[in-house]
């Protein structure tokens, strides 16, 4: 019986492994929407048409909301506890980036939109360093 009991104690762990939630999340999504915010602000500033300017604000707020959504998903679905060990400032980085997206949503400040892009790029670096690029992007995608 003792032998059986010792035998039933697992000797090691085996991995039903999945690389990072499956290569479906890409910071590019957030970046595209953030780029859009910046360009919309520029178009807003260049126009005298009140209606057009109002539309710019409306669309820009939608896009900024999408930035927050994509960053949130990346944060809680892509990044794992082991990534937090590698990047202890991961939570802080996401918190600040999503806060920055709120700022872009609320304002017409091109500097804020540019700053948001650079914050997304920081997240993109972490994503690439954790193998996101290889696992996510399909061969043949235009660069």
């Amino acid at each position: 019986m003792l032998t059986l009991r010792s035998l039933l104690r697992p000797s090691r762990r085996v991995h039903a492994h999945c690389d990072i939630p499956c290569g479906i999340y890409d910071p590019e999504q957030a970046r595209i929407e953030a780029e859009s915010c910046l360009r919309i602000i520029e178009k807003h500033d260049a126009s005298d048409d009140t209606l057009f300017r109002n539309r710019c604000i409306h669309v820009k707020e939608e896009r900024a909301e999408l930035v927050k959504h994509h960053l949130d998903v990346l944060w809680h679905d892509y990044f794992k506890p082991e990534h937090l060990q590698k990047y202890p400032d991961l939570h802080d980085t996401f918190w600040k980036a999503t806060k920055q997206a709120s700022k872009v949503k609320q304002s017409l400040d091109t500097a804020a939109a540019t700053e948001l892009l650079s914050m997304i790029d920081t997240i993109d670096d972490m994503w690439k360093a954790t193998g996101g690029l290889e696992k996510t992007r399909v061969n043949g995608r235009p660069s």
Binding site: S6, L7, L8, R9, R13, H15, H17, C18
Partner: protein, 135 residues
Amino acid sequence: MSPPRIRLPLIAMLVGAAGTLAAGAAARRWLDAVEVRGSSMAPTLLPGDRLLVESSTYARRIPRLGELVLAPDPRQPARELVKRVAAIDAAAGTLELRGDAARASTDSRVFGTVPIAAVRWRVLARYWPLPRLHR
């Protein structure tokens, strides 16, 4: 006269423990217990499940389609994977492995085939949390 009364059971326990360890070590060469991590074999296997695995079958024959096996991750051989045999190329001596949760599994679709020779352990049964036989 208290020292002998303490010492005798102690010696018996030590001998018993040594015997258990020896038997366990011998047994683990062909029968072993492992714990599952990760969810790529869901719903068949879930994280924390404990499996009985045996190595005598693949000493005699190659794995068969549908069997659950342990295999080293070709990209990181220290990591032992548990996956299902999805295809066999006996001529090439390779297997294709797949997780049951296909959309949440890193397997041969990513790391390619695995040499049959690298696959030693077959999953016999899950004994925890509930006994359930696999083929």
